[in-house]
Amino acid sequence: MAPQLMQESVGSRKRLTQKIAFILFRFFSLSIVAILFAILFFIIKNGIGVINWDFLSKAPQEGMTSGGIFPAIVGTLCLVIGSCLFSFPIGIMSGIYMNEYAKNGKLISFIRIMTNNLSGVPSVVFGLFGMSLFVNFLGFGDSIIAGSLTLGLMSLPLVIRTTEEALKSIDNSFREGSLALGATQLETIRKVILPMALPNIITGLILSIGRVSGETAPILFTAVAYFLPQLPTSIFDQVMALPYHLYVISTSGTDIEASRGMAYGTALVLIFIVLILNLIANMIRKHFTDKNKI
């Protein structure tokens, strides 16, 4: 009836194409893994020798060629905590509003578009904005608070989206069940919905901490200093920060070659932070998916 359909050569050609395509995909996927491991391996190999207690607990010395990165660790910690204090409550509340309360479709899609737009704004633009609003207009100067608020604004879209998605994944029957028992909407959210969504929200928040701790451009003009002899004492002080520290000692230090070791060490600490946070996030995720299975 259709002799052409039975041609073996056509069949073998299309199977060969498939074979080649799939081998290519596998190769590309493995090379991504290879790139990641190359970066990790390279930084760990060169950085591990630098890491010791002194490196983590002392200030830089001799024009950043020896000593440690303690002030930068403290600075990054301050900035991260500050930004989380700002972005977590507001972001979570915003996510709850969008998923649980807002009923006007137009308003919601407007807010969602704005949130998406904000997440697309480059970090350096946040830096400019933070500088003109917090540093100059509000007069905070280069300070922990200005840097934290800038970082906080930048991480808002991620926090909001995380919350929204966690809430969205909860079946409506739980809401109806609670409301049908006479609970108010707030009680339903607080006692039923939030506890169920919490693992997913926490996972997302931990990942966002990782992002914030590595950002440089937003704090460049709002918070950081090249070198400070003492630790900050108030939220209006300037700080050193790990990512900025890595940037300056690898590009514009007094003696770039001599500070390479310090740079590797700093990069390793940064990677380590991200690694640990990702690990924790994955453990939480796994823990709760396993639990939900039973």
């Binding site: 259709a2 052409q4 359909l5 069949g11 050609r13």
Partner: protein, 250 residues
């Protein structure tokens, strides 16, 4: 030689055994209906016949399934060749987001046919065969989604026919359709019988009794009874079959 023959087929989804020791023979140009309550394994068995279950992770098959005397699960069998000969129509109409013409031509194109006139003829033939030609001949370039549900399902039948298969597997092809469309599909199946061996899964007892030559009753993964449709619907051997047909459960 039977067109399709299953020998001692056991099938597992992970730990769960979905089919238990199925033995069944389908003769050429027969219409066979698979009936049984939901979850009895009839659809699973149907999907074994063109190896559609290959797509699912963690499944395991024991026993043999022969198509025209050859085991279709042997290593050297090319799945795509098999599926050209054993066509399938699904429960819900699933046309591609392409034009009506391209939907029918799809199978020909993926099998390397480039001859334009041949494709055009084949598309017309198939659409005529599926009793759809008169309704769509003026809008072949239009999206398939513009058709009604029943028309879409007949388009899917035409799409399968374009490959000139010897077997058509139909997985509840009318369950998502209104009564009039259903009647059209049944009528079509009646005509297709001349050329094809048809295996149809259905929930609808009347439908099974109207269109099929033979009926297989599945229950809890077992093939309880298989025989001439008239006999199954009048004097079934098993009480369970009797109960199901008369609507005492299911």
């Amino acid at each position: 030689m039977y067109t399709i023959e299953a020998k001692n087929v056991n099938f597992f989804y992970g730990e769960f055994q979905a089919l238990k020791n199925i033995n069944l023979q389908v003769e050429k140009n027969n219409v066979v209906a698979f009936i049984g309550p939901s979850g009895c394994g009839k659809s699973t068995f149907l999907r074994l016949l063109n190896r559609m279950n290959d797509l699912i992770d963690g499944v395991r098959l024991e026993g043999e399934i022969l198509f025209e005397g050859k085991d279709i699960y042997r290593k050297d069998v090319k799945v795509d060749e098999l599926r050209k000969k054993v066509g399938m129509v699904f429960q819900k109409p699933n046309p591609f987001p392409k034009s009506i013409f391209e939907n029918v031509a799809y199978g020909l194109r993926v099998n390397g046919i480039k001859d334009k006139t041949y494709i055009e003829n084949r598309v017309e033939q198939s659409l005529r065969g599926a009793a759809l030609w008169d309704e769509v001949k003026d809008k072949l370039k239009k999206s398939a989604f513009a058709l009604s549900g029943g028309q879409q399902q007949r388009l899917c039948i035409a799409r399968a026919m374009a490959m000139a298969p010897s077997v058509l597997l139909m997985d509840e092809p009318a369950s998502a359709l209104d009564p009039i469309s259903t009647a059209k599909i049944e009528e079509l199946i009646h005509e297709l019988k001349e050329q094809y061996t048809i295996i149809i899964v259905t929930h609808n007892m009347q439908q099974a009794s109207r269109i099929s030559d033979k009926t297989a009753y599945f229950y809890l993964g077992k093939l309880i009874e298989f025989g001439d449709t008239r006999k199954i619907f009048t004097h079934p051997d098993h009480q369970s079959t009797q109960n199901y047909i008369t609507g005492r459960f299911g």
